[in-house]
Amino acid sequence: MKPQEPIPHNYSMAKLNLIFALSSLFLLAFTGLMVMYDYVRGWKWFQLEFNRMQRERIEQDLASVGDARQKAELAALDASTRQREVELAGHRDQYRRAQDEYDRWEGRHYAADEDYRFAKASLDAKRYESEMASLQRRSDSARQQQEYAVMTRHVNDLQLTLQAVTRSRDAAKAQVDSWLARIKEVEDKKKKLTERSDLLNKQLAAVKTDTNFLVLNAPMLDFISPTFRIDQVVLPDLFVSVNFMNVPRVDRCQTCHRAIDRQGFESKKEAARLVTELQAKLDSFEIPVEKAGDTKDRITALKKIADAPYDTPNPFRTHPKLDTFVGSASPHPLLEYGCTVCHRGQDRATEFGRAGHTPMSGKQEYRWAEGSILPGPWDYKHRHWGFQENEFNETPMYPRQYYESGCLKCHSGQVSVDKGDRITHATQVVELYGCYACHKISNWRFTDLRKPGPDLTGIAEKTTPAWAARWIAEPHDFRSTTRMPSFFYQRNMVGPAVGASERAANIIRQNVEIQAIVSYLFARSTHRPWTPPGQGDAAHGKQIVESVGCMGCHIEQETVKDSTSGAMRMARRDDFPLERNYGFNLVGVGTKTNPGWIYNWVKNPKNYYPDAPMPSLRLTDQEASDVTAYLVLLRKPQFMDKPLLPVDPGALHELAKSYMVNTLTDVDADSKLRSMSRDEQLVYLGQRSIEKYGCYSCHNIKGFEGLKPIGTELTIEGSKALHLFDFGFIHDYIHESGKSEHVLHNVPSWVYNKVRSPRVYDDGRTKSYNDKLKMPNFHLSEGEATDITTVVLALTKDLVAPQKIAAQDSRSRLMEEGRKRVSQHNCRACHVVDGYGRAIASTIADTAFLPPDLSPEGSRVQSPWLFQFLKDPTVMKIRPWLSVRMPTFHFTDEETNTLVTYFSAKGNVPQFDTTRNVSSDPRNVEVGRAVFTMLRCAQCHKTVPQGAAVAATTAAAVPADTASLAPNLTLARVRLRHAWISDWIRRPNEFIPGTRMPTNFPRDAATGGFQSPLALAIDTPPFAVQKASLMKYFKSEEELRKTMGDAVSLTEYLRDYIWSLGPSEMRAASPAGEEGLTPVPQQVAPPAIPPLKSSRNRAGSPEAGGR
């Protein structure tokens, strides 16, 4: 065979080997790098940092624990241990013997125990065997049973042996222990002394970066049992939508927010706030006495934090409202509610940007985003979190100022959210400003509400076209606090971004539209004549307006003093409580309307418009005349001096045609318009313009009944995707107030700027006249805009399980329906309800003359009484000294029932009871009478019927007795609840803080029980008479003294005494309040088309205007 020719290699093997070596090394290096890349995660840095922080604090605590005195004590104890050990060594033999004895018995015990247990196991097996034998009728069943009996005896013997051995062993052990007892005693003392530092040391071990820590968290080994781990809570009944299905939320926020549910990591500011808050609660007995100790400890701990040299930075802080959220004792514990259900954001994300953190301002966005070229955990020290806008995240977190948006997801069935002051206020703003009228919001809170604007079907009776045109053009010029928004001459029509020629044309067009709307409204208006008032005294009228309660709902102020600059400026809505914006600002009312209309309106608003929100204050004819005389003096003549442009026929034609060409051809539209008179054209355009601007959404206008509201539906606006919001060309803009505002590319910022400056997204766009944005300008302040944005963001389609939705039980539903009425009828203008309200307080100087606080109303008054009183407040005058009147609201029976049910449900008492007929023991009444005298109750309370008539008749005739500033007690039996009276006497200040009723039975600070001052007083000379008279009811002085010291019994006797006064029946209410509804006066045919100047027939029969 020929030797094979050697085949050469194509490549040099040495070179290949070298390449192989190098590339393998590279592969190894890059694999290592890959592992590191996978290992280095932002959240691990947070956990490491948090560990370090904890370590630092524990070490500081440890340093403070080991003071010199403690060290000395420890040394002494060590010495005594040693000494006792020496003592023991002296008796070594006896000790040794006892120990040996014990060991021996221990061995025997072990053997006896084992014998017994083994025998018992065999016995159990035998029992089974014998049972089976008898069950299967086996031949050996008799033998088996016999064997079982033998074994049972054997086991019993063994048990006895075991007991004997155990006894001996215990005796031996006691012997040994007695030798060691003295040493153990010292050891125990020592343990107690070092208890705290032991605990701290244990805690320290948990957060130490020792070898175990390094091994457990080493890359590639950290799958076993790492201490770095992602913490999560699974929330099966709170869902996150992944579009095709709803899956449970898995919140991982605590992975970085380590101490969110743990006390002790509050910021200094937060700690200081909590200290004041808790201290106040403690002082007012809001915290039960048995829990006071814990609270005091907490205050001490918080004080330490507030005074500490360091401050806890985020994300390591404790949740600032731990008693409301996240805390295990709070209503929203972390394990049940997590975080993202309120805050939103991506539940499973563990990276800053992906989690959906949203900056609250451009400044914050800049700080968050800024970082090094290679972003990573090393930036966190400078609080640059590597923020990136994530356009794909459909549920980014709410920015800080809108946090309370999250409440409505579960609390949308509630009028006020407990501890959610902001969201409660925000929903009230939305209700009062009437956002729901144009924007449908299918949500219990914002449905079944009345139209926010006044009825316009009778506008011609009320004002003149000249005023109406100026008003529509710029309502703000007439009343700076009005809720009527500005539709015309806004920034997309006449703003700086609009070209000069277009601006000039728009001014003409806008004027034509205004005039057209006015023409339509007056052409369709009714023309009922209203009786002019008699001679009135304006000064007296002013006094009435300021005293009977008008100021609860109305403002009469054009300028206010600015709180920061101190200069006078135009008033804004939010200068006043929300409730006082319910009615209009009375400024200029004399310019707006006429005496006849005012007179009849204040007499009874329902005569003009049956659904008028204003109640009747039951003014007499003379009072109404006086009020009218005063109100017509509130004039603003300079408003009417504003020039009104004439209607431009060209623009009128152009605008009217622009609507007609939707259905007609150009030629047909022209010829149709030519066939119409100018007034007809105006009315036509007016109708179209009302449709365009949606005036009918807020106002009742003839011809627009039942139309859908004009605005975008907002029911799930908060879930709308970002790309569906039209930002136009806007990023920075100059707000009307002159301030530059920045629009961040997120939904909250869009909504905020939309409500702040509704036409701003038209800046720079080319649009035809009718296509421009139409939302009117409400002139919202920053706070109002934030409130409205909060509500809009809260309206989401996020799903939670039904059991997580608040206030769903029937009692809560009844209460919430009532709360809605309270809000709708503006009860809080005068009363405190649910602990807040009484806007009128700012206009009444003396607190004694304020309308009553209704917070405890349900438990205070009887439902039948309340029902009758609400239907007709004249049935009883409880506080005759008040000049403020409870108005007649003309509630329907249904509404009244809703309110009565609400109050009794809130008072947590049954709606009806039979206590009115309770008759008390005469002895108790007598004791009560004596106590009544001793406490000098009669100084304020009357106990004789008012006037000569029976107590429960109308009190209006009785002159107000300002000397006795407490209700007449003869009314109590028909009005108050039996159980409530005694409770109230005991703790009036807890029911109504700041009440004038004195606290006669103060609480004992230590036990929280009530103390009676009479226990000592009964023996003093001034009360000798009472003592003598009472003695006949008591066996001994001792018993009398005991009773006098028992505050609870005394209040019950007082109650019995009060119950014995006055009648048990009351006058029935008239069906619809005092005067009833006056029939609407006869109709007068309206003139065909009213021209634009005021030419209204004011004459009418004196009777027709209403009584």
Binding site: I7, H9, N10, Y11, M13, L16, I19, F20, S23, S24, F26, L27, F30, T31, L33, M34, Y37, V242, N243, F244, Q346, N390, F392, N393, E394, A721, H723, L724
Partner: protein, 407 residues
């Protein structure tokens, strides 16, 4: 700079770049650039084309840009001739291409699109496609030169040598494996996988794009109905690719690179693969933005950009525009011209067999000829429809909405 960007933006418009590529391609094939025999015949036709573009460019700016680019490239190619295949020229082209790309990356909009993690492989694909096409054609050119001189292809000389599988093959393969693994690791670390939030059917991304390998098909959807672009044409592509070995029986060029010996085969394949497939993928990736609108490489992807949609059907073009009457009610009459046009197009093979394709008919025999020509015509239907769309805003040749049949 702005002018150059503007120039590139206009030039990369799908119609312009397509025309440019197609004309250059035919230039390459028909005039044996490989042989350096450009001036032999018909060069004047192409110069004439350039002049035509130039003249129309006076009225239509994009065509002016096209003419400039066309003439410059043609001038370069004509002057370079076979020197195109020299390593030095290849390097120059590579450096020029890379440099242009690098400079473009300074433009923020270009950077945004080109550096998107899911677009990076397509950027690499452009360079790899260019490189491998160039390498293959260069080898073909070298062989052709040898063959013309009466020599043998270099693959033949090489295949006489013998080597061990191990280590020569196995070792190098393993080294490749290691190096590739390193590349993949570095890549996956440097560019994070573009994972997004859960899909939302009510809010689809804009533009909604198919995976990159289907972007050619998605681009075809602009010109054809889904049943054609999504079903029929892809099926025919697969069937056609499978049929190639049975249609192409040319024994020459087996086992070695050659262009001269397989001019038509290679020409048709490269046109289909490079222009009708890869070019459409690249267009779909880089140049189709929101609403599937066309955006130049330096143009901002504005979702609000509006282009007029004024395409019309052939029936409208003939009945309404040319004849000035309303559309007939009966669809058969209405679409008569379109149907006739389609039938005529598909009836071309027998005519071509006696006409220009006589040589192929004789060489391949009837079955191969008819199948091959049919597939070729279907392939060419795409560029024809594209050109019709650009020139006449033609939407459909046959549009029978009554039975949902549109071509």
């Amino acid at each position: 700079m702005t002018f150059i960007k503007d120039f590139v933006d206009v030039l990369s418009g799908s119609s312009i770049s397509f025309l440019l590529l197609t004309s250059l391609f035919s230039f390459l094939i028909f005039f044996n650039l490989l042989d350096g025999r450009l001036r032999s015949k018909g060069g004047s036709v192409f110069i004439g084309f350039g002049l035509l573009f130039l003249i129309s460019g006076i009225f239509i700016r994009p065509l002016l840009y096209l003419a400039i680019a066309y003439l410059v490239l043609m001038f370069l190619l004509a002057n370079l001739g076979p020197r195109v295949w020299e390593t030095r020229t290849g390097l120059i082209i590579l450096v020029a291409g890379g440099g242009a790309f690098g400079l473009s990356m300074l433009d923020p909009q270009f950077y945004l699109i080109a550096a998107k993690p899911d677009n990076v492989p397509i950027v690499a694909m452009i360079f790899l496609l260019g490189f491998f096409t160039w390498v293959a054609l260069r080898k073909a050119y070298l062989n052709d030169r040898q063959l013309l001189a009466g020599g043998i292809p270099w693959e033949k000389t090489e295949s006489d040598e013998k080597l061990f599988t191990c280590p020569d093959l196995v070792y190098t393969e393993m080294l490749c494996m290691i190096v590739l693994t390193i590349v993949m690791i570095v890549w996956s670390m440097a560019l994070r996988a573009p994972l997004e939030e859960a899909a939302n059917p009510t809010s689809s991304p804009n533009p909604a794009k198919a995976p990159w390998y289907f972007l050619g098909l998605q681009e075809m959807l602009v010109y054809f109905d889904p049943w054609l672009a999504g079903v029929l044409l892809p099926t025919l592509i697969i069937v056609g690719l499978m049929a190639i070995p049975y249609i192409d029986t040319n024994p020459r060029g087996n086992g070695y690179y050659s262009f001269r010996e397989r001019k038509w085969e290679l020409g048709i394949f490269l046109y289909g693969f490079l222009v009708l497939w890869s070019f459409l993928i690249i267009t779909g990736t880089f140049l189709r933005g929101p609403n599937w609108n066309f955006f130049g490489p330096y143009e901002y992807w504005d979702p609000n950009k509006l282009v007029p949609l004024v395409n019309i059907d052939l029936s409208e073009l003939i009945w309404v525009k040319a004849l000035g009457v309303a559309l007939p009610k009966i669809w058969l009459i209405r679409e008569m011209f379109g149907i006739l046009f389609c039938l005529a197009y598909l009836g071309l093979p027998p005519l071509l067999a006696v006409g220009p394709f006589r040589r192929f008919y004789q060489k391949m025999g009837p079955p191969r000829y008819y199948v091959g020509t049919f597939l070729f015509l279907i392939m060419m239907a795409l560029p024809i429809k594209m050109v019709l769309r650009w020139l006449f805003n033609l939407k459909y040749i046959v549009h029978i909405q009554e039975i949902f049949f549109n071509v």
